[in-house]
């Protein structure tokens, strides 16, 4: 669950969360919907480059490098290898690369979003989009809970190793394995959920009641530029093609 780790220590995002949401949608639409020729191909490259640039901006050089390399391999495979192979090899390459390259860019951008947006920025943006508390509160709790789940499941897996619970051997079996891993995780979820609710209540959390936000989210020049770009892409995808 590394995807949802908050890793934004001491850094302020340059983009508004709403811009990121729009970009995420547009990138996915483009990457899933386009082919490998002409304008389509150009669009793909632009979209694939966006997470790369953004990773560099938030100083995630290692991630950027890794992502860039994987992207290159993908594009090379799709643009060069697939057209010049046939038969089984072609199918094999296509089946391994195909689905992966379709989700790679979207996931990379989602990952960027997770590590460049604080949950409170996200919630503030949702509020400005008039999303009700009944959606925004569970949503922010959800994001807060992913890293907790990762911590808990890490501890549970350690414990399983200490006890010698493995897929094979005396306590083996896939169903047993799932039970041993999921049940303690659900127990923790219940316990942490109860404690979290209690703590939030004493801090006056009350759905439906108006509240303020200290976090400033504002559309800046960059945001508008990217919004314009996204809209352009959308128009091309939905109307021009």
């Amino acid at each position: 669950m590394q995807f949802f780790q908050y890793g934004n220590e001491g850094y302020k995002s340059i983009l508004d969360p709403r811009t990121k949401l729009l970009l995420l949608v547009v990138i996915n639409v483009v990457i899933i919907g386009t082919g490998f020729t002409g304008t389509d191909f150009l669009l793909r490259i632009v979209c694939a480059a966006i997470p790369l640039v953004l990773f560099v901006i938030i100083r995630r050089y290692r991630t950027a490098l890794l992502y860039g390399l994987v992207c290159l391999v993908m594009f090379f495979g799709e643009a060069v290898l697939i057209p010049c192979t046939t038969g089984t090899i072609n199918l094999l390459i296509v089946i391994t690369l195909g689905p992966f390259s379709r989700i790679l860019v979207g996931y990379a951008f989602a990952y960027y979003m997770m590590c460049s947006t604080t949950v409170s920025e996200f919630v503030t943006a949702l509020k400005q989009m008039r999303v009700p508390d009944q959606i925004s509160i569970p949503l922010s709790v959800m994001f807060r809970f992913f890293p907790t789940l990762a911590e808990e499941s890490h501890a549970i897996r350690d414990a399983m190793r200490l006890r010698g619970i493995r897929l094979t051997g005396k306590n083996g079996g896939l169903l047993k394995q799932i039970e041993y891993e999921v049940v303690p995780l659900m127990m923790s979820t219940l316990r942490i959920g109860d404690e979290l609710s209690a703590a939030s209540l004493t801090k006056g959390l009350n759905p439906g009641k108006p509240r303020t936000h200290i976090c400033r989210v504002k559309m800046e020049l960059w945001d508008w530029a990217l919004v314009a770009l996204s809209l352009g892409f959308l128009i091309y995808m939905l109307v021009l093609r």
Partner: protein, 471 residues
């Protein structure tokens, strides 16, 4: 400020055997806390001190359900008839578990959270945050992920997040349970600051030494009733023996006992043990360490000194560690170590998998034990650990101490010669701490090599044959 008039409360819940029952929280309690007073609530676990804190912040009866009689008034409001939300601006609460009391992922948002809920204008909240951050010296903790903080830092953020909304009353429920000595010192500073600012502070706590200098009054609860009321200056004149008579942890700080040197005994030897986490400076390098066999060895040291990493390496959880571990004339490679050393984790909940205590114990048995032998052997171990009467109960329905014993039973049947305990007494009162100590001695006397990682000087004083300090 706070007034309890003949208050009784019973929680509704089910016991380990599945029967509906009522558990006493408090029973006919009458007490008053004046404005600006610093009150410490002490007593055994289950004496009702946590319930008192919950009655003040409204979690009882509005969140934890049960039967309430008598009247509780806080800041002139009747707790029964007003909601938790009405009390929230006046009462700030800090809880025991730093993992589960944060709504946000980053520290700054958490600091603002309570004020945001009160609809305070953003500029004012920012101003308050700046002031609190300055008062509490916590610039380095701002704009950080909660998940990257140590337990002590988390608890400091929890205190600050309460303070930003400036409530008149602060209630803390065992805030030091998960902290080391340095963390407790920080906590004590925060409490001193609150006292100086004239806040009314109510702390329910087992560890008392850090509170004696601050307390105006200590209320000793027993079975939900007020057993004794001791004024602050009297506590400061009392010694630890007098605390022990009352079943309380020490009033004055206890220094960690000195390290002894070991003679040439049969030992567990670690040589050149080295491990470093990826993408992190944390890690350990231990040139030489020997741990006497069949003795209790305490490992102490502040957070971040590598105690847990050492434990993980010794139990074989970090397979990429370098160096050697020798025991009983054998070299134990990382892969083999799970059958050398068995760890009882700080949060034993993670360690319990099955649906009955008996199953749980049988799960740990090595494959060499034949089918017919399994159950009798498990029952024998349960007998030894005084768990027989619980053998059909679901482990998660047990109390914390019972869960710990079930986990230990697992280690005993697994036939691991070394048992390692990670903070076995965090958050325990004197009586339960002594129970754990007895249990450790019992394990030692059956020939196990016991290693205890702990921040608890009283436990070390009680049991350790040898102390190793990590720094």
């Amino acid at each position: 400020m706070i007034k309890f008039q003949d208050v009784s409360f019973h929680y509704k819940n089910t016991d380990a055997f599945g029967k509906q029952q009522k558990t006493r929280g408090v029973d006919g309690l009458t007490l008053t806390v004046k404005k600006g007073e610093f009150v410490v609530l002490a007593g055994d676990s289950g004496c009702g001190k946590t319930t008192v804190t919950r009655l003040i912040n409204g979690l009882v009866p509005h969140y934890y359900e049960g039967e309430l009689s008598g009247t509780v008034s806080v800041c002139g409001m009747d707790v029964q008839s007003s909601g938790i939300g009405d009390l929230a601006p006046h009462v700030g609460s800090v809880f025991q578990n730093p993992r589960s009391q944060f709504f946000n992922v980053d520290t700054t948002s958490e600091l603002a959270f309570a004020s945001e809920n009160l609809c305070t204008p953003p500029d004012e909240i920012r101003k308050n945050i700046r002031r609190i951050v300055q008062e509490m010296y916590m610039e380095p903790l701002m704009d950080r992920s909660i998940f990257a903080l140590s337990g002590g830092e988390k608890q400091k953020v929890a205190c600050a997040s309460v303070a930003v909304a400036e409530p008149e009353i602060m209630v803390l429920d065992e805030p030091s349970s998960n902290l080391d000595a340095a963390g407790i010192e920080e906590l004590a500073k925060v409490l001193a600051l609150w006292k100086a600012k004239g806040k009314t502070v109510v702390v329910a706590e087992h560890r008392l030494y850090y509170l004696t200098a601050l307390a105006d009054r200590l209320l000793l609860l027993r079975d939900g009733k007020l057993a004794e009321e001791i004024p602050g200056d009297q506590i400061r004149r009392m010694d630890n023996a007098q605390a022990g008579e009352r079943g309380l942890r020490s009033f004055t700080p206890i220094a960690m006992p000195e390290t002894e040197t070991v003679s040439a005994e049969d030992v567990l030897v670690c040589e050149d043990l080295e491990f470093h986490y990826k993408h992190s400076e944390n890690g350990i390098h231990i040139p030489y360490l020997c741990i006497p066999r069949g003795k209790i060895t305490a490992i102490v040291g502040k957070n971040g000194a590598g105690k847990s990493t050492f434990a993980r390496v010794l139990c074989g959880l970090e397979r990429k560690s370098r160096g050697s571990v020798r025991f009983e004339g054998r070299e134990w490679k990382p892969k083999m170590r799970p059958s050398l050393c068995y760890m009882i984790m700080q949060d034993v909940n993670h360690q319990l998998f099955t649906d009955s205590v008996l199953e749980e114990v049988m799960l740990s048995m090595p494959e060499s034990v034949s089918k017919q032998e399994r159950e009798p052997l498990a029952r024998k171990v349960l007998e030894q650990l005084d768990l027989s009467y619980l053998s059909d109960i679901h482990p998660m329905a047990l109390s914390g101490g019972q869960k710990q014993r079930v986990a230990i039973a697992g280690g005993v049947v697994a036939k691991n010669p070394v048992l390692l305990f990670d903070e076995p007494t965090s958050g325990l009162d004197l009586r339960h701490m002594r129970q754990v100590a007895d249990l450790l001695r019992q394990l030692r006397d059956t020939g196990k090599t016991v290693i205890v990682i702990t921040h608890d000087p009283e436990l070390v004083q009680e049991i350790a044959d040898r102390v190793i300090a990590f720094c």
